[in-house]
Symmetry: C2
Subunit: 356 residues, 2 copies
């Protein structure tokens, strides 16, 4: 696959909530030419978000960014509802006019936008909508026949770092000589790995089936382990159906619980998050009648806490659940991977098989 050189569009959002931009910069194989965000222009990416470990410049506009010789414009945010902010249209048109490919993970399909499509045709550039799902069948049960153990990330809310944890653990696995396949299930994971399906974009009746297809595709590469990026949260009123599609469709052998330990309310709702034991009980109860799987570890997002507060939260998670717990960004993923490895290398027998 061609390596792109990205101009990353995230005006006003890069420092705080440009989830797609951050994921692609930290974990992707593509080059980063520059980030477009007037609110922090003139600094470097590393200076604005040190964790990304990237020295590309932040610039004020697409036009200014062209000096960095990008080959593609990446829409760097994933707003609720997934529409392109109207103020960003002119930036997209500038990029098309400059001959850049447009890469977008929005729900709104930029390739279906008449003005963009016409401009792209005129400039001979491609519009790549990462979230456009392929046609997939309904769930068939083929996932029950996958040979490698499947580990699925679930969480106490959206935006707690499920994808990051899975990517870090896959790196730890590689260092330990375990061939782990990362399965992307959302637009950022797809932008990073270059394949995958955005399950949240799939028609509900086919969401389990699409999840199954992803696991089966990963299995065809004969990995030792399959790590599936999670989505949403099982008690999030808006996004739980996507979470459940992954829980049933991927037929996981084990779950990894990813939590922000200090978050008290669900993203966007005045509804409480659940405690560790309550989360473990509910996830395991839902899987039990179909194909049982246990939570085998807890990954915490302690960003924003000082070292002693972070350690206190990690200790609390261990004490409450008697499971391995760690922050794989703060402390590196090798220790947690080593701890959960014995529990995930065994493929569980499925209760359910297909009769039809």
């Amino acid at each position: 696959m061609t390596v792109r050189r990205y101009l990353v569009l995230a005006p006003g959002h890069f420092a705080d909530d440009a989830k797609t931009a951050h994921g692609v910069i930290r974990y992707g194989r593509d080059e980063i030419a520059a980030v477009v965000d007037p609110s922090c222009a003139g600094r470097s990416v590393r200076d604005v978000v040190p964790y990304l470990e990237c020295d590309a410049p932040v610039v004020a506009s697409v036009t200014e960014g062209l000096a960095q010789r990008p080959t593609a414009l990446l829409i760097g945010t994933a707003p609720v509802g997934g529409a392109l902010p109207p103020a960003w249209r002119s930036s997209v048109l500038d990029a098309i006019a400059a001959g850049l490919e447009i890469v977008s993970g929005l729900h709104e399909m930029l390739g279906d936008d008449a003005e963009f499509a016409e401009a792209a045709e005129r400039s001979g550039v491609r519009i790549t909508d990462l979230r456009k799902p392929p046609a997939t069948p309904v769930f068939t049960g083929a996932a029950y026949g996958v040979a490698a153990p499947v580990l699925l990330a679930v969480g106490n809310d959206c935006q707690v770092g499920k994808m990051t944890v899975v990517l870090e653990l896959a790196r730890a696995a590689a260092r330990a000589g375990v061939r782990a396949e990362f399965v992307p299930t959302g637009q950022t994971g797809i932008a990073i790995a270059g394949w995958g399906i955005a399950i949240d974009r799939v028609i509900s009746d086919f969401a389990s089936g699409a999840s199954e297809q992803l696991v089966c595709e990963a299995a065809r590469r004969n990995p030792d382990l399959i790590f599936v990026e999670g989505q949403g949260a099982i008690n999030h009123p808006a996004y739980a159906p996507v979470t459940l599609a992954l829980m049933y469709g991927c037929a996981p052998d084990a779950l990894l619980l990813v939590c922000d330990p200090v978050r008290e309310k669900l993203e966007g709702f005045d509804a409480r998050t659940m405690g560790y034991r309550e989360l473990i009980r509910l996830h395991e109860a839902i899987l039990a009648p179909v194909k049982p799987a246990a939570v085998v570890g807890i990954a915490l997002r302690t960003r924003g806490l000082d070292d002693s507060a972070a350690w206190a939260e990690i200790e609390r998670a261990r004490a409450e659940t008697l499971l391995p717990a760690d922050d794989v960004v703060r402390n590196g993923p090798d220790h947690l991977f080593g701890q959960i490895r014995p529990a995930v290398v065994k493929r569980q027998p499925a209760h359910a098989t297909v009769t039809a």
Copy 2:
């Protein structure tokens, strides 16, 4: 809304699994001109399926059915995956050529089929795809503000009669002077009621939001009660995401459990169905952290059992759960409605409200 006069297409399926045909014939407001099924042509609908209480003829072909002066052709089945059986194409084209509107609840959008679309334009007829969902927002929490109590049907599997139970209870409510609004969530319910959204066709990220929109639309008619048609089953690996979208999106105050008491395996899967107490526990556990709601009664589908076996199953459900239980088709819905009424007239306070 115009009343249609339907020619119902269900070749080879009418007697057994033409769920859409049966629902529309028994509960719809449209007229039935004839049913097309060569395997039982020459008999009457009542003779083939007595429960439908309809004297329209069954005919061998669309051409033969034209003598009954239909105004529309209804695709009468809902196959897994939702594609039109290729052998049916010529019947659809015959109907279009004869000037009939085409009404379909398939996943496959007949209006997007080039051959059908062109034929329809030539004949000046409309193709109505019932399952095509409108654009809906993500879940907002507006459902928490609905004044009328919301009762949602859930079940121990697909195809256990959830829609039928809700329609029968809505009739019982009307007889008892309670203004109950039926909320259609699938293609047959939409064909019956003339509004609604097929939740299984909605993009996953918006499925809870679409469910919420339906409840809010029903609430605008100021009913005393809102009865929501259920979909799928919470432990069905293929369809559970749709079930969960309704459970969170409709913000129900109470659940009605609809079960086939003798079904041991899930439709199409070698996976066991759950028992009554296990089902109640799991549904209530899933709702508890968001907006708690209890199962208030059990509707059984005892079709195929003799009277004494049916009563034994009803008694077993009552004894195991201490809840009201009955078969509303076999025994009529008034008794069960009277029993669950006190439990559903009280609107539960929501835990969750919107902050964003």
